[in-house]
């Protein structure tokens, strides 16, 4: 083994001219990719560009309709995920798939437990040692006898990476690994990535976060609408160039801020508390105002919003809507008070995957398409078409199943659904998480429009530039309490972070 890191390693994986269609929609049309050992290869593109499809082809989840895959110069067919792992390709999914009731060691060695004898008794001691050795390689000290359910997202991620290197994976695919972890955990992850690349492992890295790409990637391949746009060394690119490659247009002024005059207090929250989640949370939102809520993961932001919307009601405190005391026990209560919410968990609480775009759009305001208890299908179709137009939802038609849409378009459906109920107070919890830049710009425009229409908007986001440029006021939460209220015109990301960090 050479001591220095090879600058351009040999090509370990080569995918050429990959095609893949789903139900008539071409997801990949002639995409090529070359991965070299020891490099971090970023795969960029808007949602729906085909990144996930390409990765799932490499990880054996999908079979390509056409095209070739070469591993170290040999043509291969990757039959299924197990086959991919045997061939040295490991994938760390965006949504981690641990078995929560099993221990760390059991998860790491799942499927290749060390056994003794013909009967296949599991050698628990060997298992524990091996798990500890693998975690040690990653510089991670974690009691391997704890169950996965007790771990943080970042810790689970490390466990999955340990699992991958345990399989001697030469190629590790990471799909948005930093979407749910804190900044400090990102640093730890990057350290792990550097360690892996020094050992000659190739990393395929998918992320929407520009700053990360410029920090960690060596090479960038860009896809757009299922088509291969190009591959560039990171040194040739800057942020503007990369965005232009991804969206095919310039997005200089993405974040408008043209809010109307503020009206009276729409929402007044007084000393709201819930055992173990948050306490003494007080704030208010005016009509026509965007209140940004910043904080680290686990600061209690989502929990407060879920309490306001009745998904998980608070134990104590008061919620006043238009200066009237309320009693919110379930989302239906909140909605009748004019509160609407786009939840953080799009798959869990946003879409009904078995339903069409049309039925998802109208679900929360079905009364507008009803006479008495009866649905008027013509009216419902018209409402759906209007919303598909108004929100620019990319779909083959209102009948398309919502889970066939890209993440950004699913999010637009959820936003359309929420707004169809005509809320006067709109809570948006991480509305731009995991969606592409084009869709983000559209969400920003929607937020600005809502405020200018006089609605009270609460924007919860982990992306500080978003908070700073869209909000009229910024609330910083820390460990279940409100740590600070800041004026976005006179504050910085550093100051927000300072307030957000646990003491």
């Amino acid at each position: 083994m050479t001591t220095e890191k090879p600058q351009r390693g040999e090509i370990v994986l080569k995918a050429a001219n990959i095609h893949k269609a789903f139900a008539g929609v071409q997801a990949l049309a002639g995409v090529s990719l070359e991965i070299r050992s020891g490099e971090v290869h970023a795969l960029m593109g808007e949602n729906g560009a085909g990144k996930s499809t390409l990765m799932n082809v490499l990880a054996g989840l999908y079979q390509p309709d056409a095209g070739e895959i070469q591993l170290r110069g040999e043509n291969v067919v990757i039959k299924n995920p197990h086959d991919a792992i045997c061939k040295g390709i490991a994938m760390i999914h965006q949504e981690l798939m641990p078995i929560p009731d099993m221990t760390v060691a059991e998860n790491i060695l799942l499927g290749w437990e060390p056994v003794t004898g013909r009967a296949g008794w599991i050698n628990r001691r060997a298992m524990k040692q091996e798990a500890e050795r693998l975690l040690g390689l990653l510089g991670m000290k974690l009691p391997v006898t704890r169950t996965m359910g007790e771990l943080s997202v970042a810790e689970m991620q490390t466990v999955e990476i340990a699992r991958a290197i345990g399989h001697n994976a030469g190629i590790v695919i990471m799909d948005e690994p930093t979407s749910a972890i804190s900044d400090r955990e990102v640093e730890a992850l990057f350290a792990v990535i550097r360690m892996l690349t020094q050992r000659g492992v190739a990393i395929v890295y998918i992320s929407h976060k520009m700053d990360e790409i410029f920090r960690i990637a060596d090479t960038v391949t860009v896809l757009r609408d299922g088509i291969y746009v190009g591959t560039h060394p990171i040194g040739e690119l800057n942020e503007q160039k990369l965005i232009a490659l991804m969206v095919g247009r310039d997005l200089a002024a993405m974040m408008p801020k043209d809010h109307g005059k503020h009206g009276g207090t729409a929402l007044d929250v007084r000393r709201l508390g819930k055992t173990g989640k948050f306490r003494e949370v007080s704030f208010n939102v005016q009509c026509g105002e965007v209140l940004g809520v910043a904080g680290l993961m686990g600061a209690g932001r989502t929990e407060v919003m879920n309490a306001l919307f009745g998904l998980d009601p608070a134990d104590e405190g008061e919620i006043l809507v238009n200066n009237q005391p309320t009693h919110i026990r379930r989302p239906a209560d909140a909605m009748s008070l004019g509160i609407g919410m786009v939840t953080e968990d799009r798959k869990g609480y946003g879409i009904v995957p078995t339903m069409s775009v049309e039925h998802n759009t109208t679900l929360a305001a079905l009364d507008c398409c009803c006479v008495g208890p009866f649905l008027v299908h013509a009216r419902e179709r018209a409402v759906a078409d209007e919303n598909i137009m108004a929100f620019g939802i990319k779909t083959t038609g209102r009948q398309q199943a919502v889970n066939q849409l890209s993440g950004g378009n699913q999010q637009k459906v959820v936003i359309a659904k929420t707004l169809l109920a005509r809320p006067s107070i709109v809570i948006l919890d991480e509305p731009t998480r995991g969606i592409d830049i084009g869709a983000k710009a559209e969400v920003y425009a929607i937020i600005a429009r809502l405020a200018s229409e006089g609605k009270a908007v609460i924007l919860v986001s982990s992306e500080l530039p978003e908070i700073l440029s869209l909000s009229d006021r910024v609330l910083v939460m820390r460990q279940g309490t409100v740590a600070a209220e800041l004026d976005p015109r006179h504050t910085t990301q550093e100051e927000i972070l300072k307030h957000a960090m646990p003491i």
Binding site: A21, A23, G24, V25, Q26, A29, D65, D225, G226, F309, L311, R330, P331, A332, M335, S336, M341, T343, G348, Y349, G350, I351, V352, P353, T354, M355, H359, L363, A364, L366, D367, C370, P373, F374, L375, H377, K417, A421
Partner: protein
């Protein structure tokens, strides 16, 4: 967007197969049977098939509501027995007008279904467990009420419910009526849409302001009431209230729903498929009868069809 017509065509074929696969299977089997047995395609035999599937059909239509919410109801067979006994108890000659036993039977089923729904939603217990409990409780109630003996001496008005009206069996007419109303309900009524939403994603339904518990309660109640209707009709056909009737009926009903393409995890399917599923099971039973296949083998065939149908459905769904 590049969109080769080839893939569009296969996608189209796949969709046709998925939507009409069971119809195609049904037609093919009918054609085959009419070759093997000249008796199959006669009006008399087709009416027999319809009569044979009517009870299972009514139960299957009812349990479709429950399966669509992602639940299950195992108590149907016992409810058939209980409601039959209750109805027969009110149906002695000269006691009450006909509507009393009919309504009593339906209400008994409705009440049991409502208990299922309340316990499932308020107690937050798995439907499998709750309805398994109701299966035993309702069977016990049927035995208690009847004293363990068939309730006979039924009025002619009541037994006529098992007969014909205008040349068509009344049970078949009842099945057509309940299926039509249920189909219209699920398609055109708001609550029908909510049933699909709850089955598709319960949390999202709640976040959309839907009262998930009320929707589930409704589904189990309707299912119970339909079981009551089936119980009344069975009692009328066999002219007694049999406390031991209906054993394992729930499994045939669920099988029909699943063959008809309704997903056990909820949110997908409907009454049309259920009706076809019941019809397919009935036609195959009848065909095997006509071909003198022993009933032992019929069971094996039925089981294979249930699994085969779902397997096909899965393949097409991909």
């Amino acid at each position: 967007m590049p969109c080769p017509s080839e893939t569009t065509k296969t996608a189209f074929l796949a969709r046709i197969l998925k939507q009409y696969g069971i119809v195609i299977a049904l037609v093919l089997i009918c054609i085959a049977l009419s070759f093997f047995s000249p008796h199959f395609m006669t009006f008399g035999n087709l009416i027999t098939v319809a009569r044979q599937i009517s009870l299972n059909g009514i139960l299957a239509v009812g349990v479709t509501f429950v399966l669509l919410t992602g639940g299950v109801d195992l108590s149907l067979g016992s409810l058939v027995a209980l409601t039959g006994v209750v109805a027969a108890g009110f149906a002695h000659p000269g006691d009450y007008p006909l509507f009393v036993p009919v309504i009593a039977g339906i209400l008994a089923g409705l009440a049991c279904g409502m208990v299922n729904g309340v316990v499932i939603t308020q107690g937050k217990i798995a439907p499998f467990i709750v309805t398994l409990g109701m299966m035993t409780v309702a069977r016990g109630l049927a035995l208690v009420i009847s004293g363990g003996k068939p309730v006979s001496n039924m009025s002619p008005a009541m037994t006529r419910l098992g007969g014909d009206l205008l040349g068509l069996p009344i049970p078949v007419l009842v099945l057509c009526g309940t299926a039509a109303v249920s189909w219209l309900f699920l398609k055109n009524v708001r609550l029908g849409r909510y049933i699909y939403a709850v089955g598709g994603n319960e949390n999202a339904a709640r976040a959309a302001g839907i009262n998930v518990n009320a929707v589930k309660l409704f589904a189990y109640t309707i299912c119970g009431a339909m079981a009551g209707l089936a119980g009344v009709i069975l009692a009328a056909r066999i002219t007694t209230g049999q406390p031991n009737a209906g054993i394992a009926y729930e499994l045939d009903a669920i099988a029909a729903v699943v063959i008809g393409g309704t997903s056990l995890s909820g949110g997908v399917g409907g009454v049309g498929g259920t009706l076809l599923g019941a019809l397919l099971m009935g036609v195959i039973n009848n065909g095997l009868d006509l071909l003198n296949v022993s009933s032992y083998y019929q069971q094996i065939v039925k089981g294979a069809i249930i699994v085969g149908a779902v397997l096909l459905d899965r393949k097409n769904a991909k």
